[in-house]
Symmetry: C2
Subunit: 293 residues, 2 copies
């Protein structure tokens, strides 16, 4: 599969994901020039300073002029509006793709809104850290990680093939899912862990109010289970609301399993607890690697 | 504070914690000989092979003969029985300490059962990984970590001082709490994260039953929030039951915060979600470091 070449690439939102992608596109020699735009001028200036983008556009429409590839890496709640406001300025035949972590509200509507002039392909690299901003951008963020592409019936096959080739070239494993399946999968493996980490941190904060001895005693288990509660509050608020139904289903599953576990502990049901915990290691292995340990 | 010296140290349970402690005691030159005992003969043989202990005792009473320091690092549910069955064989004036993660059911009863012949000091190094067994033992597991000592009114002050000196010498920060406060603190910062990780993994397994596309797509957030669900099922079953009341309180707090978050998402309460998430990063910092970021 040959990787396409782009004279000029525009990236909207030069944060952790957009910035890291820019670093990879340059390293893979997929393009000549990368122009960035970011509503946060300070972040954009930093992206130029760090050599993440070649040029900073002062207006969104300047960024896309002449760009044959446009990457939307702004917060997911803004992607549809950013893209439709750019529509008049996009180059004929350009490929537009995104990295948003919710796909149903974006892919079908945006594909329709931009066609036939411009070809949209929905994408979501399953990678990230709790950090954000251009300063957090890094090489190899996507290497060995999955990137989910979410075509719909009206997706242009050549554009899909080009976006797939780009992600493969920078080391990601491409998986193709429908937007609906994507959103259900991500509700379970990503959005639910975030809801849980926020609730857990809040519950521990409640306990610490009554018992300040807690402060300073958190160790590895606390650190790992709550790490993602340090993620951007605005971004996660938006993701939970954009994917509301699937997230609510996932949270209900979690509430039911937590109540079951509380009841087993309450009844001191030793055998029941062992049965509950059995196979957990294997489930984790399968969710992480796709196969049993 | 001068560190005491022990001719012969006996360690019961040469797993992750007992084995790592043996490595540190030797490196710090706190003792001449370390003898290990483990009910798992294979694990004990491995501990000898890896040079973690000098000798393997074939019977528990052989391990403690001549030992002026006895460390109980068996699973918490067994510590009281192991110690009381050893009582007739312990050396007069020996110090006995443990590393169990629940203290109320151990410290007061064991201090009373062993006195006046032997001096018991309850301890709990707040460190560990999801791994277990002698093969998982490592240097520096306790360095920079907290070790909680839990004296009661009948604890011998010299023995407490000696145990404190040992932990300080191998790089741990000693914190003194009563057994009850210890168990409430650990219910919140350690036992609740474990309950949560188990429930979360189970909820994701439920989702994967209906949607096998989930397998193989777990990334960093999933990995970190569920890592400790790979911990020993038997040990955690026992910890939850040994510390049942405090764990149930903590789980109820978690259920209430999770329900609150579900309701905010259900009502699409954007401002409420932001308010819920605000300050999470700071709470994490305080729980980990004892101070605000």
């Amino acid at each position: 599969m040959s990787t396409p070449y782009f004279e000029r690439v525009a990236i909207f939102g030069v944060g952790l994901i957009g910035g890291s992608l820019a670093l990879e596109l340059r390293a893979a020699q997929i393009c000549t020039t990368i122009v960035g735009y970011d509503s946060n001028a300070e972040n954009l200036a930093q992206a130029v300073e760090l050599g993440i983008v070649d040029d900073a556009a002062t207006a969104p429409e300047d960024a896309v002029r002449g760009a044959s590839l446009v990457i939307l890496a702004t917060p997911p709640a803004t992607i549809f509006d950013v893209a439709t406001s750019l529509a008049p300025y996009l180059e004929e035949g350009a490929i537009v793709t995104d990295v948003g972590s919710v796909k149903t509200p974006i892919v079908e509507p945006l594909t329709r809104a931009l066609a036939p002039k411009v070809r949209f392909v929905g994408g979501h690299p399953v990678a990230g850290t709790e950090k954000s901003g251009a300063a957090a951008a890094m090489r190899d963020l996507f290497r060995g990680r999955k990137c989910i592409l979410t075509p719909v019936t009206t997706t242009d096959p050549d554009a899909l093939q080009a976006v797939r080739a780009i992600w493969s070239r920078i080391g990601a494993h491409v998986v193709v899912l429908s937007p609906t399946v994507h959103d259900t999968v991500c509700a379970a493996i990503s959005h639910l862990p975030h809801v849980t980490a926020y609730a857990l941190t809040a519950a521990i904060a409640d306990a610490a109010e009554k018992m300040p001895e807690i402060y300073g005693l958190g160790a590895g288990g606390f650190n790992d289970t709550t790490r993602i509660a340090s993620s951007s509050p605005q971004m996660w608020r938006d993701i939970f609301l954009l994917n509301r139904d699937a997230v609510l289903d996932a949270v209900e599953r979690m509430e039911s399993r937590l109540a079951e576990l509380r009841q087993l502990i309450d009844r001191a049901d030793s055998a029941g607890l062992e049965k509950f915990f059995a196979g957990m290691r294997d489930v984790r292995q399968r969710v992480l690697k796709g196969q049993s340990s």
